[in-house]
Subunit: 527 residues, 2 copies
């Protein structure tokens, strides 16, 4: 691969490096998809691991063929991550989430995703502050330690969701999935709140202020997302784009979703939360106001975009691990470095255990006896394990805190950045490798059927087909499937009579929301 010659040869309109890196990236992405497909049935491998390994190999090739000069072209770029790659993933998560499960478990998901992050953040911050100097590493200030707490509290549940079956353990899936999204949002919001703290005058009020900031951001971001989603639904319904303007409908949905994220960022809110709720509202209302072709297209294209964005992120992480500049700049001794890795991984394990088990017990205690769906100990272990992987959000936050647009001159900061990369790689590769065997062991009644379920959408969202077919069936033949669904719904309501809030919401939705913003004429179980 004569990379440098390619660059020299190239003299066209377009920026040289742009075309070269885009070409390489597109080719590598194709390779990832193919290899991911071939290894699909394998017991230990999943797509994240494949992408990271391929990224590492490609990074090594580029590094060698350019003699260490050009590794920068493919450096992990936090702007790229937060502006282009994260929004489609989170939007798709909201768009494809099984709303019923999500809102039924809302209380538990929120306690894991919000309270859990606070607990994990406290343990990791205090732990780092206490243990890093013990292994011979010092030089960070208080704000750095607080930032480390949030950096290592953001989880990456993709590996686990690729293995879990939504059909066999819907509640577990919903909990892991829901926590994953809320956790991302909480970490980023908390990180932003911490960045604004004036550490010199730290006192009790500061904690309250962070909490207040957090609640404000959480509420306003959610409201902005809901508002954008409703606006889109109303616009699509009021203007009625007709049968042939599939282009416009698709473009409008995608643009409005993206706009909601960007608006939130502009207004200094949490784009993640906004675009997640925008996705939920759009799939609940707007999606029903467009043509059949648009529905199929949006479902598939959002999933495909999310899938590509995830693959790109893991590729980036793999490539970035070989950015030698950072490794050179870190002057810490080998023993200390391994001490840091060990301490951090230990704190991650501890921090997560410290909230998953107590909060699960609490959730079981508070749930009504008629629910009967308690979180068993085995499920608790799976939830604990699912959140041990650290991913792109951790790296992006670490870059933001400890580098200046990807470059750092401070050896201490370089050490932290490389440590983050090592922790992310280790947790994804080692913990990720063990996920499938662990789940097979913990949930043995699953009959090894997991291989068939995770290639529909690899982004932790429900398999598309069980989202599409109910609607399609309904559209084609409303009488039979509608009745079937209504019957299911009835039996479920008989089993769990408590959720009055859901009943009220449904009544309100049917009476006021759907006539204005659109939705299927018949009330069905949307999952």
């Amino acid at each position: 691969m004569d990379y440098s010659k390619l660059i020299d040869d190239f003299s066209n309109f377009t920026g040289r490096s742009t075309v070269v890196s885009i070409s390489i990236f597109a080719a590598v992405l194709c390779l990832c998809i193919l290899i991911g497909h071939l290894f699909e049935e394998h017991r230990w491998v999943n797509e994240s691991i494949t992408a990271i390994l391929i990224g590492g190999i490609v990074g090594a090739i580029i590094l060698f063929s350019s003699k260490g000069v050009n590794s920068h072209i493919l450096r992990f770029d936090e702007e790229l991550f937060f502006i282009y790659l994260l929004p489609p993933i989170i939007f798709n998560a909201g768009f494809q989430v099984k709303k019923k499960q999500f809102f039924h478990n809302f209380r538990t998901i929120m306690s894991f995703g919000v309270l859990g992050v606070f607990i994990s953040f406290s343990i990791i911050s205090v732990g780092c502050c206490w243990l890093y100097p013990k292994v011979g590493f010092s030089g960070l200030n208080l704000q750095d330690y607080l930032a480390l707490g949030t950096i290592f509290s953001s989880t990456d549940t993709i590996c686990t969701l690729q293995v879990l079956s939504q059909e066999e353990t819907p509640r577990l899936y919903s909990l892991v999935f829901g926590e994953g999204v809320v956790n991302d949002a909480t970490s980023v919001v908390l990180y932003n709140a911490i960045k604004k703290i004036d550490v010199s005058s730290l006192e009790g009020r500061t904690v309250l202020k962070v909490l207040g900031d957090f609640l404000y951001l959480f509420t306003t971001s959610t409201l902005l997302g809901v508002a954008t989603g409703l606006l889109t639904a109303y616009g699509l319904k009021a203007l009625y784009f007709g049968r042939h303007s599939t282009d416009r409908e698709i473009a409008l949905m995608a643009l409005m979703a993206y706009l909601s994220y960007m608006l939130a960022e502009l207004l200094q809110l949490s784009g993640i939360l906004t675009v997640f709720f925008c996705g939920i509202v759009m799939s609940h209302y707007a999606w029903h106001n467009v043509t059949e072709n648009s529905r199929i297209t949006t479902r598939n294209i959002f999933a495909a975009m999310s899938f590509m964005a995830e693959t790109i992120i893991f590729l980036y992480v793999g490539m970035d691990a070989l950015d030698i500049d950072k490794w050179k700049k870190s002057e810490t001794r080998l023993r200390t470095v391994f001490g840091i890795y060990g301490v951090t991984l230990f704190l991650i394990l501890l921090g997560r255990a410290a909230f998953v088990f107590p909060l699960s017990v609490m959730s079981n205690y508070f749930s009504s006896p008629s629910e009967r769906q308690l979180i068993t100990f085995k499920h608790q272990v799976v939830i604990w394990w699912a959140g041990l992987m650290r991913g792109a959000v951790s790296i992006a936050l670490a870059y933001n805190q400890f580098t200046f647009s990807g470059v750092t001159w401070d050896p201490i900061h370089a050490t932290i950045v490389t440590s983050t990369i090592v922790v992310v790689l280790f947790s994804t590769l080692v913990f990720g490798f063990l996920t499938r065997p662990l789940i097979t062991m913990m949930l043995p009644h699953r009959h090894q059927s997991e291989t068939g379920n995770h290639h529909g959408s690899d982004n932790g969202s429900p398999s598309k087909d069980d989202m599409i077919f109910p609607f399609l069936t309904l559209d084609n033949d409303p009488s039979s499937s509608g009745l079937l669904q209504a019957k299911q719904s009835l039996s479920m309501l008989l089993e769990r009579p408590v959720h009055t809030i859901h009943v009220h919401w449904r009544k309100f939705d049917d009476a006021y929301m759907r006539p204005v913003f659109g939705g299927p004429g018949l009330r069905i179980e949307e999952g």
Copy 2:
């Protein structure tokens, strides 16, 4: 719109200007789609004009609210244009083209698109060289004049295609559409060939060399596109992605198409030609190897992306017209400037007339009598008119020749760049406004039915639905529609017995290509 305050307020992860400009762009794009929808039935307006006008208005607002400082954020960017916006448009053109019509008219399309560009280029180059000094404008060298010839030879047929009906005048549509694509490719290839000329040693051999270069580029680019398309088709067929992996199929098709464009650019070929033929091959083979959902999704999403890219280009052109820096730098007198505009527009009208009418007569002369589909004089007028608009390719080439990444310090070059913008705006707005009335006058048997046809895909490709439904119908119920189509095909073959090359190709395709690369089992008329 307190634009500068928004920028000041904003202090998040992401690059400030990026988020602000993306937000504005997304919002304006939504606005364009909505207004385009509302004005759809209007007689004089089309989407290109709407987008240019909105772009101009937004540009003016940004200019005023930032007091002339921030107009640069939204400057026309040739890299953005050639790397991100042009590929989806051209790929979609190839993907949705009615292949039968296109290849039946191949000879005529090529003579218009290749020979025509050479004729138009010669007239405009010589004309500018002779007339510009007459209106008091000098200072360009020979290469500049040659470049001007290609810049003003590239047409923009979108306006016309939005109005023409593919059903009523399939041959005319196919000619205008085919010429548009070939013309774009020819202009860019010719421009590149001219850039390499050493003007100091111009002689007879140089012309031959340009011709040789051109033929080489044309052939290799086409072959690369065909090869990439076949590779994709084979990959999708050989690996058989199964029922659920819609994500992977869609991602792979999009990535391979993009990769073909990028590879062509890397190898200094014409990406436009490559991606166009890649699109044709993909829709002929690869498209049949994917799931039903993937088929619907790819058809719609490629059309939607092309639609968005076009709208963005016209918005950019509208905004760029208000980039005051360039206007300030041009020091030419007002009388001279208007002389340039007049001369250029006159040469465009003349240059196009000089090849459309003779070549049409030639095409009529050489076509077999059994064809009976002669290009009438009215059709010739429509073809002539269709290519009078100048668009984004002209602007991008002008930027490439006369600016250094969008900035020019030379007043002479600044004059040429602003003149190009004026010519593009004038031709699109004035000629564009007149297109619909002209076509209604020229083709009065059209029963005013054009309004229903042009909102499917506004990119000059056939309306999606008549592309999708034949295939869908076939898939659902192969017996009836297949027979119908076969009957049509038979009657068409009886009418035109000459096209032996087509018959041979079909036999070869059925016997060797389709079994390897995929395709519908039954031979049908794909349009």
